[in-house]
Symmetry: C2
Subunit: 444 residues, 2 copies
């Protein structure tokens, strides 16, 4: 192909609006976090599953469709089927449960970390393609399962090296009992959505919207008294008692919350959890505990991990009741937060522990053999594959955030030795044996 015809046919390399590439400096930390989470979930006996990216639109949206409709990528495939890209991992999981229930041993604990797609207008930190990290326990409705999700959620944040987070927890069932007690349960969906906006639009605006919904400013004030702690120092159990009493001395959900709290205390993690009755979660399917997670150093960042108990998730696809409790980490938002916090995990972007510089192509077989030996000792070793000038190889190592270089002189090669150079402080260790080098490299 001549340069002329080539130039004529060049296509601009670009990605779609709201989509993005991950270069190694972002993808290395993303993969490191995912790998830590996978190992951590596995340590609790959670298992991975995978479902198709593309599903029947009807399966994902139900027969109605509704508001989500405009936000999802859907089309007719070559077989004229209505198909759509999944917009979360929850709906495919519900379908999966209904389809495979006879093959699964309940209680079933699963995790699923993968991409989902929504056609929303992209904003800062919001993309049309993003990664969710879901974990759920299905087939059991008790305080122990609720606690285990909260407990694993808590330890997941430690594992990721995230500090200063707070779980805000509430109980949807208790809130509904309260609404029933006020005789306004039929308005619950609108009320929940309004309450959900408390952080954004403030107390006054929520009160006025609630008055409109309920047709009564007295009821609006009663709801406000429920969701808003007057006393900021009110403890978990004090809040629980107050809400229980506002809900007409509700007993069932109150007892559940008390049991969960007792387990959190015994596990020594209760101080990470705050009872925040304004947490409602917009989605209809929650029936028990609900929670959101905030990074205390980034209060305006929004929730990075949310979820709750649902007791009838798969009802669209099966008559079987499948109670569950689960949680979802928004991995892209969390990554963005960790970047802003300059967390060590997002700053570990090196592509290798050691670079072997190529000072003489005739030495390549020796470089390769050396690399093999170092890899056997667990090191990540990158042999430079060109014989560019040393300055260029230094630059290349720097761009790859590599800390050590190996350089080999003819004399060293003959003695099966080499020079190890610490690139940051320019310290040279000449004439090392493999074992001597390993002692230095593994000391790090």
């Amino acid at each position: 192909m001549s340069d002329k015809t080539k130039a004529g046919s060049i296509i601009e390399p670009r990605v779609l609006k709201g989509f993005r590439d991950f270069l190694p400096a972002m993808e290395i930390p993303k993969k490191a976090i995912i790998s830590k989470l996978e190992t951590h979930f596995s340590s609790y006996g959670f298992v991975p599953i995978d479902t198709p990216v593309l599903e029947y639109t009807e399966v994902l949206l139900g027969k109605g469709g509704g508001e989500t409709d405009k936000q999802i990528f859907h089309f007719k495939d070559n077989g004229e089927r209505d198909v759509a890209l999944r917009f979360d991992l929850t709906v495919p999981f519900a379908r999966f449960l209904a389809q495979h229930q006879s093959e699964l041993a309940l209680p079933f604990k699963r995790f699923h970390i993968d991409k989902v797609w929504r056609g929303e207008n992209p904003q800062k930190g919001r993309y049309r393609e993003f990664t969710q990290c879901d974990f759920d326990i299905v087939g059991v409705d008790n305080a122990e399962a609720d606690f285990e999700i909260l407990s694993m959620m808590d330890s997941s944040f430690s594992v990721m090296g995230v500090e200063n987070y707070q779980f805000c927890i509430a109980h949807r069932g208790l809130f509904n009992a309260f609404l029933a007690h006020l005789d306004i349960l039929d308005k619950s969906t609108e009320i929940l959505r309004t309450v959900d906006k408390l952080r954004k639009i403030g107390k006054e605006e929520v009160a006025s919207q609630l008055a409109e919904i309920t047709g009564s400013s007295e009821k609006a004030n009663q709801i406000l008294a429920y969701i808003h702690k007057e006393n900021e120092n009110e403890s978990f159990l004090e809040t629980l008692d107050r809400l229980s009493s506002l809900a007409g001395n509700e007993e069932v959900h109150t007892k559940r919350m008390r049991a969960i709290h007792a387990y959190l205390m015994k596990a020594g993690i209760a101080d990470h959890f705050v009872f925040d009755p304004s947490i409602t979660r917009g989605l209809d399917y929650y029936t028990g505990i609900v929670y959101e997670t905030f990074l205390t150093q980034l209060p305006n960042f929004g929730s990075v991990c949310s979820g709750g108990r649902y007791n009838d998730l798969a009802s669209l696809y099966t008559k079987e009741n499948l109670p569950g409790v689960g949680s979802s980490i928004g991995l892209d938002r969390l990554l963005a937060a960790l970047e802003e916090l300059e967390s060590p995990i997002v700053q570990s972007t090196s592509s290798a522990d050691v670079a072997i510089f190529n000072t003489d192509m005739a030495g390549f077989a020796y470089y390769d053999q050396l690399a093999r030996s170092l890899r056997k000792a667990g090191l990540r070793v990158c042999v430079h594959l060109t014989d560019k000038k040393l300055a260029a190889q230094y630059k290349w190592a720097e761009n790859n955030a590599i800390s050590y270089a190996i350089l080999v002189s003819k004399e060293e090669e003959e003695q099966n030795r080499f020079t190890l150079r610490h690139l940051a402080n320019r310290e040279n260790h000449p004439n090392l044996t493999l074992q001597e080098a390993l002692t230095i490299l593994q000391r790090k």
Copy 2:
């Protein structure tokens, strides 16, 4: 919702034709293999990247489109953009290179393991959604880079626990030199596609098709003499000499192949590589070495890992020349093969090392504490969350392929002890301390 309306609105839980769910028994080994490969690639200094699942159709197909067109999932999004699901990881990588070349330090070594989609008619072992595992070295055109890809490919198979594989390697440049020598280079695309079918349709049929393409049965026979080893014991270098001579004593590519072979010899892995001149690879963009990988115990299974050198991959998007060499493992096909071979890696499907049985819900806080201690020692521990009968918990542990159970009596709990039971041989170790249990569990 009443049961009646519920039953009325039930949607059949099902996936699209050619798509599938991965239950834990398949997903656990799939993830294990991916994780091993990622660690292995990283040990060579390869870095991960990620690109969007959805791209502009023009970017993926070029301005023409052509045959691939019917096989890809494409549609108009809500903004009336022509978009398509990627059908491989190579084209998005080419686009990525062109777009980000100023941010990348060459030579650039990347891997990418993820799903791609093709609307082909599903067959045994062929799906419309499947996972590819690509690794490439870009920015350098020499024997050292060619060798490193082959070397990493070879060690990847060991890492996955695959035995009895053979890499069949050839050189597209040498073959083209041979066609030029016969003065039929202009027919190369058709000739390559025909030669590619040798394994499927046999020598005679290939000869007759080649005669038609070249318009000469003499030339057809000359091509056959090139691609078909008369002497099955012909060594790598003997084959190379024969082909070089048939190509009019070609020198450049011959020298490259000789250098690659010398490195394979020095690394002690040359016997895994066979020079098979009938390997051509269908795709147009290869210019140097090409290879396919066969499992010797499943000769009819097709290639599980293929690739080669391309010297102008990103030319659709940039005038910059970006030579590269790469390889792609077809993970689904490989998984299917490993299943057929009953390989240990696909048979490791246990969800945990130990299950803690729940014989008394009042003991749950103790079970949880025990689980935490065992997890700290690196074990995967699943607490059973219901108080179902023991028989049901045994069954559940069996379904999850868990080897050990912990049972706790009231007396044991009081002494901070428990019973460890090996589930397969029903051996009980009563009244153990944590440390005693760890000694048994970590011995495995």
